[in-house]
């Protein structure tokens, strides 16, 4: 099946959003969404890591694992390549951009265990995307994730003024807000569609 890479790109941002339709990367989405500035920082880091690890894992899968018939090892290979890449990024950023490292520092290592990163690599192998589509899918998923977390941070900022029932405070109300946002994002379905 031939899919248009740009359709995949826009679908990954809006209709097949990582948060609202695939539920990936929820832990940091809920925990690190109280401040808009931090959310943007984390979103950028996730987008960057996704846009690079998707093609790397594509190449590893199709040129190393498939020729040797080792597809079942993909979980280990993907997670190791993601961890290694995040480590590398951390070192480069620390050396060359100390200011950026200061603002991102804590979130960079956390990205390794963000399931959105591994999820994109697994989805792309399951759906048989080619190299360009995979890269755009990674980039689009990252942007979609960033859009979701920044929007949530904006809503949560306003929520501080409102009286939330005691048991619902914290993660409870965050999940309800996310549900309403997901409901709004369903409005995008029909624009672009990927299976």
């Amino acid at each position: 099946m031939i899919v248009n890479p740009f359709v995949v790109f826009f679908a990954a941002i809006f209709t097949n959003n990582m948060i609202f339709s695939n539920f990936l990367g929820m832990c940091s989405f809920i925990a690190v969404s109280s401040d808009i500035k931090t959310s943007i920082g984390l979103g950028q880091a996730v987008t960057f890591v996704l846009a690079i690890t998707a093609p790397i894992n594509y190449l590893l899968y199709h040129y190393v694992l498939v020729p040797f018939g080792l597809e079942y090892l993909r979980y280990i290979v993907f997670i190791v390549s993601i961890a290694a890449f995040v480590q590398l990024v951390e070192m480069i950023v620390e050396r060359s951009f100390p200011a950026l490292y200061q603002s991102l520092g804590i979130f960079l290592p956390l990205i390794t265990v963000n399931c959105a990163i591994l999820g994109v690599s697994l989805f792309m192998t399951i759906r048989n995307y080619n190299l360009i589509t995979s890269t755009l899918y990674g980039l689009g998923s990252g942007l979609g994730w960033m859009l979701a977390i920044v929007a949530l941070a904006g809503i949560k900022k306003r929520m501080k003024m409102s009286a939330v029932p005691e048991g619902l405070q914290g993660p409870g109300i965050t999940l309800i807000i996310t549900g309403i946002m997901a409901l709004a994002f369903i409005g995008f379905s029909g624009i672009v569609q990927i299976s």
Binding site: F20, S21, N22, F23, L24, G25, M26, C27, I30, A31, Y72, L73, R74, Y75, I76, I79, V80, A83, V113, N114, C115, I117, L118, G119, L122, F123, I126, P165, E166, G167, L168, P171, G172, I173, T174, L175, I176, T178, G179, I180, A182, L183, I186
Partner: protein, 202 residues
């Protein structure tokens, strides 16, 4: 024996991974539209958590401190591959329905969290029991959410029609927003319940 009971109470109620620690909710939201998928996912997670904790605990004296995260991830991946191959061989349709979420058990924070926080500091048999307890706590929450979502969304339980012919399905329950609302409401109920309990205890 008493310790086993305490560990189980922690996993099922006091320290329940989803409801209390808000860990591993990605898969809890994604697979809960059907009871069958939730049960399989839960059993897979119990297996991986229990054996990963056992292995981490067994080799904890020989694991260098600074690479222990990497070692833990590799151990977890190995068990996830076993689950994946098993599902593909014996339950191919469930394996397709769960899609990438079986593989995503690797990044499920419950397992990493328990390996890091519990298995590193406790003897193997206790770590193994803790893994089973945490996995069971997770499975119970999954089944509770799936029960409501499948009942209202399809009118069925484990694929068996229970709501009668005239039942109009709530399609919102099987769509993503339904998952968010259900988990939010469940956490709300559990928190309120716990606060009441604490007040009584005081």
């Amino acid at each position: 024996m008493k310790q086993t009971k305490t560990i189980f109470m922690e996993g099922l109620w006091g320290n329940n991974p989803i409801a209390r620690q808000i860990l591993g909710i990605c898969s809890a939201l994604a697979v809960t539209n059907l009871m069958k998928n939730s049960l399989v996912m839960g059993l897979g997670l119990i297996f991986v958590t229990a054996f990963s904790e056992l292995t981490v605990s067994l080799i904890r004296q020989w694991t260098p401190k600074h690479i222990r995260m990497m070692v833990q991830v590799l151990i977890i991946s190995a068990y996830v591959i076993l689950v994946d191959i098993f599902l593909k061989a014996y339950f191919p349709d469930i394996s397709t329905a769960l899609g990438p979420y079986v593989g995503l058990i690797i990044t499920n924070c419950i397992i990493m969290g328990r390996c890091e926080a519990f298995a590193q500091a406790n003897p193997p048999h206790i770590a193994f029991i803790d893994g089973i307890a945490m996995g069971t706590g997770y499975t119970l929450v999954l089944l509770t959410i799936a029960f409501v979502r499948e009942l209202l969304g399809f009118g069925t339980l484990f694929g068996i029609q229970v709501m009668g012919e005239s039942w109009v399905s709530w399609s919102i329950m099987i769509m993503p927003p339904g998952a968010f609302f259900m988990l939010g409401i469940l956490i709300w109920i559990l928190h309120t319940f716990k606060e009441k309990n604490q007040e009584v205890a005081k």
